[in-house]
């Protein structure tokens, strides 16, 4: 099956200079041709399928390292560089960008910014908005603009980096990024334990929220998708799920934190958590990073994948709700942040609408949360409202912003909520 959101474009170009991107957009603007920016093509499932034919603008050749003054802990790269390439450059100086990007071998940084990729470490290290210092992009007229800078603190002008993060390429085609990077920790460890019930889990989570142990990730995992991972799957069949915490720091710090955490957990009935350190944890990190990229089908069953955001304290109730609605659900929750990624198998083709509209969005909205459909099987006819939820109070203002940057509506038309709601 083809991905639901394949770009319906006949033409493709891949400029190797920013000026080429600008030129292509100017030409497209002159003939009102839609422009579909593509990095590693890993995020094309995100949002609505596009329908208007247009120009596929690949950023793959705009992938150079521009400047890496590693002792400043900043790096400037072209937007088509893959997340894996960035990681390699940084690793040479024992540094890293502490934001997980799925399918890093193909996913580009421009793409990661456009969809606001994030992963488990957002609890301790933040998301791209906390790392992006400067940006260059080409707007819908073909004009190059930049914002921010290359220093770690900067109060000059509006922070347009923030505006472009998560804008799905609808305000500008991102061409260059300056990122604040961090030293690699000396050591890291994943601790995992079965949780018997959600009440005990909530006590653990509440303890972690005020903890001085500095976990970098707090994850609650449940469902069959984890079954084949020896660390991340529950040990006991009766367990409600698996609580996983990542700790990073110096050896002394991490060993002390492991001891403290194990003691806290044992009081909540989690006996002797499994501990996996450093490189041995890599395959599990891989799983934790890639879960968000769920195909529209898993094990042959059509699957709806949603991202739910609520206050952290509402996480477990939301998980309970998900299991009640669909006992076959698999989920990964960045529980410290109130973010839940859920893969819901669809047993009946029409089921999704009832799931989304009434039974899922209602309770999430009631606690002030949001629900976004991240991917869904081809053939389902979802609207912008289905994917992004009902427009909030900011929608009119956002549409004006969009018009300012892309007056003809040529950048990634149809995919994001902006012109659809």
């Amino acid at each position: 099956l083809a991905p639901a959101n394949a770009t319906p474009s006949a033409e493709q170009i891949a400029p190797d200079q920013q000026a080429g991107v600008a030129e292509a957009i100017r030409a497209a603007a002159a003939s009102t041709t839609p422009i579909y920016p593509v990095g590693g093509a890993t995020g094309l499932d995100y949002g609505l399928p596009v329908t208007r034919p247009g120009l596929r603008l690949s950023l793959a050749k705009l992938n150079r390292l521009v400047d890496y003054p590693h002792r400043d802990l900043t790096i400037t790269v072209e937007a088509g560089m893959t997340a894996a390439d960035l990681a390699r450059h940084l690793a040479a100086n024992r540094q890293r960008l502490p934001v997980e990007v799925p399918q890093a071998d193909r996913a580009t940084l421009g793409g990661a910014v456009a969809v606001n990729a994030s992963g488990p470490r957002r609890y301790g290290c933040g998301t791209l908005r906390d790392c992006l210092l400067g940006i260059s992009a080409v707007d819908g007229r073909g004009t190059v603009f930049s914002a921010g800078g290359r220093v770690v603190k900067n109060a000059a002008g509006y922070d347009l980096c923030k505006l472009l993060i998560g804008s799905c390429g609808t305000l500008g085609v991102i061409t260059q990024l300056t990122l604040m990077v961090r030293p690699m920790p000396e050591t890291s460890a994943l601790l995992a334990g079965d949780v018997a019930d959600l009440a005990a889990t909530e006590r653990c989570l509440a303890g972690l929220a005020g903890s001085k142990l500095l976990p970098v990730a707090i994850e609650v995992l449940a469902g069959p998708a984890w079954n084949d991972d020896p660390l991340l799957a529950p040990r006991r069949k009766t367990a409600a799920g698996r609580l996983v915490v990542a700790l990073e720091g110096t050896r002394t710090e991490v060993e002390w934190m492991i001891g403290q955490l194990a003691a806290q957990w044992s009081r909540e009935g989690i006996a002797a958590p499994d501990v996996v350190r450093d490189q041995a944890a890599a395959p599990h990190w891989q799983r934790l990073t890639e879960f968000a990229v769920a195909p529209g089908h898993s094990n042959g069953a059509p699957t709806l994948t949603v991202k739910i955001c609520v206050q952290p304290s509402a996480t477990l109730n939301t998980i309970r709700e998900l299991f009640w609605l669909q006992p076959g659900v698999s989920l990964q929750s960045h529980a410290g942040n109130g973010v839940i990624w859920a893969r819901l198998p669809l047993t009946q083709p029409r089921e999704w609408r009832a799931l989304l509209d009434g039974r899922l969005r209602g309770p999430v909205a009631a606690v002030g949360g949001s629900l976004t459909v991240v991917s869904y099987p081809a053939g389902l006819d979802l609207t912008a409202r289905d994917v992004w939820g009902p427009p909030g109070g900011a929608a009119p203002l956002m549409r004006i912003v969009k018009q300012q940057f892309d007056p003809q509506g040529l950048l990634n038309p149809g995919r994001f909520f902006l012109e659809n709601s």
């Binding site: 540094q95 109060a155 347009l160 923030k162 720091g249 203002l397 940057f405």
Partner: protein, 478 residues
Amino acid sequence: MPPVQLDRLIRELRARLGSENVLSDRSELVVYECDGFTIEKNEPDLVVFPRSTRQVAEVVKLCRQHHAAVIARGAGTSLAGGCLPLGGGVVVMLTRMRAILEVNLRDRYALVEPGVPNIQLARALAGSGFHFAPDPSSQVSCTIGGNVATNAGGPHTLKYGVTGNHVLGLEVVLADGSILQLGPVERPGELDLIGVLVGSEGTLAIVTKAWVRLTPNPHDFRTLRAMFPTVDDASSAISEIIGAGIVPAAMELMDQGIVAAVEEAFHFGFPADAGAVVVIEVDGPAVGLAEQEQRIVEFCNRHHAREVLRAASAEERTLLWKCRKLAVGAVGRLSPSYCIQDGVVPRTRLPHILRRIGQIAAEHQVRIVNVAHAGDGNVHPILLFDERDRDQVQRVLAAGRELLEECIACGGSVTAEHGVGVEKIAFMSQLFAAADLEAMRRVRWAFDPEGRLNPGKLIPAHDAPTAERTSPVRRAMA
């Protein structure tokens, strides 16, 4: 814009807010003619004191009907003229909206009104095990609303980030008087307007509530005071520490001039001949602190530190921080007038910029003392002068301009945390290309098509003449 019909506006504002909450008498307005940036002054037409979001919305709507500019103001501690009522207009004082509406430790946020002073939130959180991380030096008076408007920093932003990293949600009144809530929970289908509003200096909307992130207090910390024979040694040590991948909680530099002033004022016991003092704080699990400290001490010693002392008690730590936070105030002892600059360079350029500042001071025969959030590459040179001496004033202006241009030349910026306001507006076209400024104007237009929110700030107008400054003054506080 058509002229403001002031009488009618006053009547309507009084009817809505009560006459005691509307100032129109010149003797009262004069208080609001400037903020912490005193070079330029202009009286507002009116000052109003709303007590609720609804009242702010009513004020904004009335100002819109009467074509009046709206300038939001908190404690007025801006050092860049962020609240200067340039062409008159209505100053909206948010200081009576100072309730802490909710503290939620489980979800790690506080919901506050914009007029809550930063220190009030800090005090309210004492004993809770949490704190609000931004800690600008004006902490005792500046408000959370002002922190949001300028994307304020402070010493501990080195490890914990600036205000923008700690704002989860905002309630704002838009230019048309409508009320909009953004956040506090993420909505992937929306643009990050919160991120754009933080640091927008009151030009896009007026913040009426903020959900700010609370950070757990560190398990333990150590505060060190390192003394160096020269600023060059100190800045090189700092640069090396960061370059080696050590990110302390804070790393603050004070040069000899400022140390001497602090010593004279408060008698902390610093040798007056120390070339530079660096306050370094490391925090985290207690078991790891000795190691962090040891590595830092090694770098300091390698750069000829004369001594590195550790605060032995909570009192000593408080004293060290007090000394750093009072440093700027102590400058009043050195000179009748002073101007605090705010420049930032890539961290490895810190030794260079401090050397250049020394040269610029000598070339222009201006006395400059320095404090710096050194780990971030953020320098605060303080230019000392006597504003009665016109020649000196001109030299201070020239020196200030040159050192900011040097920050730009180093790949830095002309403000790290004070904001652009009116003070730095002429530098914006040096820092950004025309298309960059145009993109900012588009955002501004989207929020405020009539340009009535804090006009004349942040982005230079298309055809803006470069304002010629006649005085760089910040009058020394008594």
